[in-house]
């Protein structure tokens, strides 16, 4: 894939050991191409883990906070994976490929840490449940390339490459079929941009071929390759959290705004359940909310948030940018709960200047189709 990115003029940076393009033509241009037409993403750096065996459902359900028992075959879900302290090891997607076969997709920069955590939890699970059945947890990251086609024309483009009917695949569902000349693929209607779109998982050595085919099929729709820069601004406009910004090994999922994927009443225990609930009962230190700046300036990760009069610190920016779609500066910020409700006027300390801001509803961006 490296050669493909070089050929397209991608500006490459080291990202968790992968040479990845931060941008091709420019963050603004790429961002708007994805919003208004369609974007192509090489996400092959993501980590893929196979979980198989008769105990796989019980294991995955113990591993993650969301309820995987309810998950149908060919359905996917977004979830957190917590540690025993109630912090977040990572966020991930769980795809159910069969009754006892799951496909877990984690963040690139965390994949070694995540896999080590999964193996630790596997041991713990097996000790607690000696009669649970067969279980294998294997890191398959090096075997897959993931390519995402995101934007309003994604379905039309991917449909030219596969016989699998795409329109019946609902959001957060997938199918298994082939693309191009019989290349086996997981074709999932998932993504992290806020657009309709598909994520294709194929064997690692088929990546360049599928990538080029997407560019060709997408040409008439104005498809553009999208780098990490625009990937970040696209997710930020949706207030989708990112590990290292909104999520960390110390973050409580309720504070981070991902409490909706914590299912304490799913009927079985999961790693971190007790600690997560205890912290919530004790009172969370902050909520992760959306902010927009009311005057010029760009909030960045780590900038302090103060009350409107600028006197009392009430939080911190976790992600911030100039929103390419909205033309205003936006941020995701951890803010003390009394100041975190929509409409609250605050200030952001931008290099010593307190710039007025307001807590705003999220997502910042809603797709018009």
């Amino acid at each position: 894939m490296y050669e493909e990115h070089k050929r397209l003029g991608g500006r490459l940076i080291d990202f968790g050991g992968w040479e990845l393009p931060v941008q091709y033509t420019g963050v603004m241009d790429e961002h708007l191409a994805c919003r208004n037409a369609v974007g192509l993403f090489d996400v092959s750096h993501m980590g893929e883990v196979h979980v198989e065996g008769t105990a796989s459902e019980a294991f995955v359900n113990y591993l993650v906070s969301n309820d995987c028992v309810k998950l149908n075959i060919k359905q996917a879900l977004y979830t957190e994976m917590c540690n025993h302290r109630g912090g977040i090891v990572d966020d991930l997607l769980v795809y159910r490929r069969a009754k006892d076969r799951f496909f877990l997709v984690v963040n690139a920069s965390n994949s070694d840490k995540d896999f080590a955590h999964m193996k630790k939890i596997e041991t713990e699970f097996t000790q607690k449940n000696p009669n649970a059945g067969s279980l294998s947890v294997t890191n398959e990251s090096s075997k897959y390339t993931q390519i995402a086609v995101q934007g309003r024309h994604a379905e039309a483009i991917v449909q030219t490459m596969t016989k699998t009917p795409l329109s019946p695949i609902k959001y957060y569902w997938f199918d298994e079929g082939t693309v191009l000349n019989g290349i086996p693929a997981i074709i999932a209607r998932t993504g992290y941009t806020g657009e309709d779109g598909f994520e294709l998982y194929v064997a690692w050595d088929k990546g360049p071929e599928v990538w080029r085919a997407c560019l060709e099929a997408g040409a008439k729709y104005g498809i553009k390759p999208i780098g990490l820069g625009a990937r970040d601004t696209l997710r930020l406009e949706m207030k989708f959290p990112l590990y290292g910004h909104e999520l960390s090994d110390e973050t409580n999922p309720y504070a981070a705004g991902v409490g909706w994927v914590v299912k304490p009443n799913k009927g079985t225990d999961f790693v971190g359940r007790e600690a997560v609930l205890k912290a919530k009962e004790k009172g969370l230190p902050y909520h992760s909310v959306g902010l927009k700046l009311l005057e010029r300036g760009i909030p960045r990760q780590g900038y302090g948030i103060y009350t409107a009069d600028g006197k009392t610190k009430v939080g911190e920016v976790t992600s911030g940018t100039q929103s390419p779609s909205l033309g205003i500066a936006i941020a995701i910020a951890n803010i003390a709960i009394p100041q975190s409700s929509v409409g609250t006027k605050l200030t952001v300390d931008i290099r010593g200047t307190k710039v007025p801001a307001e807590v705003t509803p999220t997502p910042f961006y809603k797709r018009p189709y």
């Binding site: 931060v22 941008q23 420019g26 963050v27 603004m28 241009d29 820069g229 970040d232 601004t233 010029r296 300036g297 760009i298 960045r300 940018t321 100039q322 390419p324 500066a329 290099r351």
Partner: protein
């Protein structure tokens, strides 16, 4: 990427056009391209005196914040207000319309720190 022959340059990628005692300052096409889409710029007020190498403002792209360093010692006589409202001009015309400040030179010896276009070209080539 070409850099005007009549401009002088710094290693921090500012350019300076010296016309008698007046020095016009901006950032180079190399800086603009490296930063990417510039969406914010902060410039000093007229009347401020700056030492060579002192921070006089900030440019921000979507991803990064970058300080601006004064190429000379002098006093700010004009600040490009149009640029503040249209920071993208720095990407479009870095060596022309996107000038940032005009300064009155107070210490001519600070000009000796600057590179000519050929030297800057070579310097940029070493960065790749």
């Amino acid at each position: 990427m070409s850099f005007p022959n009549n401009y002088k340059y710094t290693k921090d990628h500012e350019w300076a056009l010296v016309e008698g005692n007046t020095v016009t300052v901006g950032v180079t096409a190399h800086a603009a391209s490296a930063l990417g889409d510039i969406v914010y710029v902060e410039l000093p007020e007229v009347g401020r005196t700056l030492k060579h190498g002192e921070t006089f403002g900030v440019v921000e792209s979507i991803k990064a914040v970058s300080d601006l360093y004064s190429p000379i010692s002098g006093k700010v006589t004009a600040s490009n207000a149009a640029l503040v409202n249209e920071p993208a001009m720095i990407n479009q015309d870095p060596h022309g319309k996107a000038w940032m400040v005009k300064m009155e030179l107070t210490d001519a010896s600070t000009l000796n720190n600057l590179m000519d276009a050929a030297a800057y070209n070579q310097f940029v080539a070493t960065l790749k």
